[in-house]
Subunit: 277 residues, 4 copies
């Protein structure tokens, strides 16, 4: 599949979706985008900038939700044109999809909404590639039905993304088998190393997270074999507006990506044995 000008798939190096969880300020967005562009260029990693204009499903209604649609899109457009990189954002049940699609290169749908037929089809119809996050309640083989819904409206640029599966209360587990199982959809499989280490609702009125497991799960997923990787990174995670506890420090990103790139090369240098048994 061609995505934002680069080929993606299990025969290609993994592409990276990365950025701060939320668009906090224009300054933060522009600076992180530039830094991420530098890092990924040095490492030869195809890169898409990700940031959210609205956190629409926070644990508590008292939590900050972000800069909003208008300011958010303006900033993403600036990132796109001035830094010169493709941008992705997530859309919600009431987002004006055409407006967002007119700016961003890739749309992303939230895990909680993966079963809403109209929503998935409306997003797919906006004519942009879509990264569909798998619900925390959905078996990997059940993504086939979700992908079919999206393709049924004519969009063939669909990605599927694992972000952790419900594991008792206030915890998620990343089943690495699922990354292989979802290849059957024919879509590029993406692993979200950030939300997979979330502890949903784990801090009472907001979700906790375990940043220290990001490199563990990212290495595991790359070695399992994926087309793309999703990591949220922030220059100051302790003060991030959202998802700080599971955000990866920007100044530690390059060393993480170096290892991941080397692992990716090893895995993709030969055929995946699970496909030839």
């Amino acid at each position: 599949m061609n995505l934002c000008g680069f080929e993606v798939g299990l025969e290609q190096p993994f592409f990276l979706i990365c950025g701060p969880c939320a668009i906090e300020t224009e300054k933060l967005a522009m600076e992180t985008a530039a830094q991420l562009k530098d890092i990924t260029s040095r490492l030869g990693i195809p890169f898409i900038y990700k940031s959210s204009f609205d956190k629409a499903n926070r644990s508590s209604h008292n939590s900050a939700r972000g800069v909003g649609l208008e300011a958010g899109l303006r900033i993403l457009e600036q990132v796109k044109t001035e830094v010169g990189i493709p941008v992705l954002t997530d859309v919600h049940e009431d987002t004006p999809l055409d407006e967002v699609a007119s700016v961003v290169d890739v749309l992303q749908t939230p895990a909680f909404l993966c079963r809403q037929t109209n929503f998935i089809q409306n997003v797919a119809q906006a004519g942009k590639p879509v990264n569909i996050k798998k619900g925390q309640f959905l078996a990997p083989w059940d993504m086939g039905n979700v992908v079919e819904k999206a393709r049924a409206v004519g969009n063939q640029q669909i990605m599927v993304c694992e972000r952790g599966y419900t594991f008792g209360y206030n915890n998620l587990v990343s089943d690495m088998r699922g990354l292989a199982i979802m290849r059957a959809t024919g879509c590029p499989v993406v692993f979200d190393a950030t939300h997979s280490v979330q502890l949903p609702g784990g801090q009472g009125s907001c979700s906790g997270g375990q940043r220290e497991h990001v490199p563990v799960l990212a290495r595991a997923a790359v070695a399992a074999g994926i087309a793309g990787l999703f990591i949220e990174s922030h220059p100051d995670p302790a003060n991030a507006m959202s998802d700080g506890p599971n955000s990866w420090p920007l100044d530690r990103l390059e060393e993480l990506l170096k290892t991941l790139t080397a692992l990716d090369q090893v895995v993709k240098a030969q055929k995946l044995l699970e496909n030839s048994l």
Copy 2:
């Protein structure tokens, strides 16, 4: 709390939300409504008729979705006025809420959408009592945050509903502890005995279900202590448009309710010990 003219809570007999999963035809709706009114009148059970005009989150986009908004509301209105019973229906991310709220007595929000802040608040703002289904991925104590969102827009008539929790792949488990834990929200707690026995995605392109566990779980939940009970019932479950495998046969409903009513009386005849340790 007063709901549709009857008092509900742990000091009152349980109220029943019941009907065929989907509004299939006017005839089916009117006939089942009349029968259900008869049965519940005989047993002294406060009753709200439930049926859906749109199945908005089916496993596959090839499955039937229902009669649609216009026909659905017309039929629900007919049930309400001609049979003389309150009616409930579920709304979705793109439902015209005011239109639905102008007809039905109670709105219900789907489990998958319980974390969508705007959606929950929009539904709560429609000014009707709301039955909020707990997500299959949400710990019982995390419903506190959800209820707060709904109350924040001024609606005090909120119910919380357990409908099974993610338990490995393609299965749900009903944690009876959760029914007691959710009392801390201050809301009437409802147990959905129908969707709790769903096997999500269990039949490939649609969900399976285990009807034989409906009485087991309903008895258990009533004995655990609940304000309300939700059961989908159909005169011919094998040919139901939706959720047939976990639908309860209408001709077996009265005997089920008799046992449940007797259990309810026993439990509510004395103080719940868990509250006085």
Copy 3:
């Protein structure tokens, strides 16, 4: 099935297995046994006294393990003959089974050991009724194989006991469906309301527990329909040697049992609907 002189099964009132988790002192054992005999006599509940001489699988090797085999059996014998009630104790991988079987009326096997073929068969061969606890990792339908192992050595007096199923880390869930599913073994099904509310390993070097959920789960299980109920009770749970956090206060037991007995009568007054669909 006849057990210790009383008939047990879904057509009979539930029998109760109860006592302090561990045999702490002769005094505690004799006093609790006498009190429990009084309470259950008043309520007409067939009763078996339970207490352990050795806690063989504690979280940490620093925790107290009990009075040991010799003193334990002496005390159980005293309870049996002086109070005049049948007694049950649990045995472990290295327990001298014949010695224990010469004293107690019922043997119990620990959940962790339910898959050890030799152990299960050795216990079954000791010639006493056996209460086999289902592993925290075993599906209810998989108890069929376990029961077959026990019956294969000629023991037909086998009971199966639910005590909670692994649910994420450090938590258990009680699947009430399992109580109905295990009826297919042909064995009386027992629900252990004490260990089902354990939080395994939840306090670092020992397990935690949620005593407040004992009545909730006990009511639910009795209403689901069981042959027997297992509850550990202690006059001073806060100072119990073992399993204090999930032990039920002895002075609150009678009111709990009253409700449970009334629920049991309601459920068993008619046919279980799940059996006649």
Copy 4:
């Protein structure tokens, strides 16, 4: 830690525990041992031969259990002396430990038995290195207590082994975070790629398995960072006496190990980022 003459740990290449699940015949044992020695020598992988003389916890008592203690030990001794490789076998609740310890180089304890204090301490006291499999019901941080029990009797050569965690009914999940978490025990962490793809009880009277996920999980675990890897391999898995469905074909082992070795080198070439946050 020094194990069988080679250093093991996160600064060393992973060591491999491998062999057919059960000792079926002397011929099979000698042939597979020789082949495995060849393969691992070529790849520079420290190797320990594994095979079981008794399958003591099979789903059904009708399943084959193996050649038994006497024949098993004779064959393992032959493998050890004639092929010249260290051997490991698993012991059970009633195994004569000294007899086994007089032959094998490493003892292994079954997952189901990880909480049996006496058993763990008896095995540790036999004076050989011990590979302790983590129970399918035990959180990774709770292995600390288990290791302490083993060390308390004076054995410092303890390994901890992940083999999948209970995930709903008849399924296991491998939480890669657990591999990092168990490093806190100070023990070499081993990943069992064979039993992690077991479907417990999944075929009615025996467990199923998903051999195709062995390479996926093995790659993921090696990339997460482990000291040792456990894989059962058989020249003819379809006809293996035990665990065939999750056994890896011997003729595909070398290509699998090549990839794993390359991944291992990448991961261990730099510091693990999770340790320096």
